[in-house]
Symmetry: C2
DNA sequence: ATTTTAATATGATATATGTCATGTTTTGCT
DNA sequence: AGCAAAACATGACATATATCATATTAAAAT
């Protein structure tokens, strides 16, 4: 099992603000976990009581709606933390985390890290910054959901995935999602997501090979009406 | 001008975690402001560089969409803080704040309070808690926007206003909104909001006298299909 | 008090999206 | 490799919501 103080992943999240001493201590109590594609890291309503540091892979954070659909609220990739909220409340999780591909994560129990939040102002400031950023992103999602068409939202989702999570050497999006996942990000019926993607294909905005999607006209997607 | 150390409003927000010394210092540099109904506290893109403590009144936080509509993302009432995000980033505001009725606010400059965020762990923990709460609420809004009908969202908005902001002695909702505001909360056309409210009236779920709305059947609204 | 302006209301119609049905392709399994 | 189960695709139709037009009422201005 790797040591936190030597782990480069922490450079991408708030844990970089911890001192070497703090890292050594955390390293001793952290647990590593492998989650296979499709498996659930934690469920809605579960008490997670700690943070997960994503060493590899991607997962979706979703919330079950009353109509039975599983709305995807956020996607988390390598380098990011999950569960910061659990550090400051005793409430159970409002979201479910599901692996979109094979993942490697480290779990740091709340009991071990909560003291650092009190002692290390740099650390809590970093967490604060991350939350502020998430909050701004959430505001943007709300506006998009409220004011844009399914077509526009889906186009933006493709652009977002392209810009945030990158592409494979052949230019296909590195994050592979089912049409149902796309529908659950955009907040539409699976059939509608399928139809819109087909239309994008006909319009030459994207091309597909199986589940692989390649953006052929990034600028076109950005200006979809 | 009142003194922060004696102000009871702070009990309702993170400022309660400041020490008396810190409050005395902040009291000296804070400025009080009166904002009339309809006036703008700050605009999208403005550098606010501080937090507003709402002593009285209510305001809406909104974001302009590309289609020209002004999506309301959150409402803030007496007791709450606005602009916590500005404490942790140098970015300009992503939202506009507009008074829904006459307001009294105190402005505390970032330069004065930023040091307390470093020194007083209780204070930064409180801010962290508030942000975590806002984040959870934002997640819920996203799911509602994505998965519920205009009718359901409008019903929930009425219940939310009732439960969170209360009623006047005669039972009418204490927050007065135009139909356009309702439309901009729910993310729909003004005409649609008007139609749905008219239908609620016909169904006996609400009654109206001018702009005053009274909820006649709270439980009915909660289970609108 | 009267005029002007803004807000509310409602009808008619267009359009986007949801739903249900059915067929095809891909994926996973033994 | 062959079969079963998902995932994807597409048509037909239903429905919610947007848009445009036009009254009506309430609020603001002179």
């Amino acid at each position: 099992m790797g040591k936190c103080e030597q782990c480069i992943i922490k450079q991408f999240n708030s844990l970089k603000a911890l001192t070497s001493d703090e890292l050594v201590r955390i390293s001793k109590c952290k647990t590593s976990k492998t989650i296979k594609k499709g498996e659930i890291l934690f469920e809605e309503g579960e008490n997670i009581n700690g943070v997960y540091c994503v060493k590899d892979g991607i997962c979706k954070l979703s919330k079950l709606s009353e109509n039975g659909k599983d709305q995807i609220v956020k996607m988390v990739v390598k380098g990011q933390l999950i569960g910061q909220r659990s550090l400051v409340t005793d409430e159970s999780s409002n979201l479910q985390a599901t692996a979109l591909n094979d993942m490697e994560v480290c779990f740091i129990p709340k009991s071990e890290i909560i003291a650092d939040l009190q002692k290390n102002a740099n650390f809590s400031f970093e967490i604060l910054k991350e939350m502020a950023h998430d909050l701004k992103e959430a505001d943007d999602v709300i506006v998009n959901m409220a004011q844009k068409s399914v077509r526009q939202r889906l186009a933006e989702t493709l652009v977002y995935i392209h810009d945030s999570f990158g592409t494979n050497p052949d230019g296909t999006l590195s994050v592979i999602l089912s049409r149902e996942d796309f529908a659950n990000i955009v907040g539409t019926a699976t059939e509608s997501a399928i139809r819109v993607l087909s239309q994008f294909k006909k319009d030459g905005l994207i091309s597909t090979t199986g589940k692989y999607i390649k953006i052929e006209n990034l600028n076109g997607l950005k200006f979809v009406e």
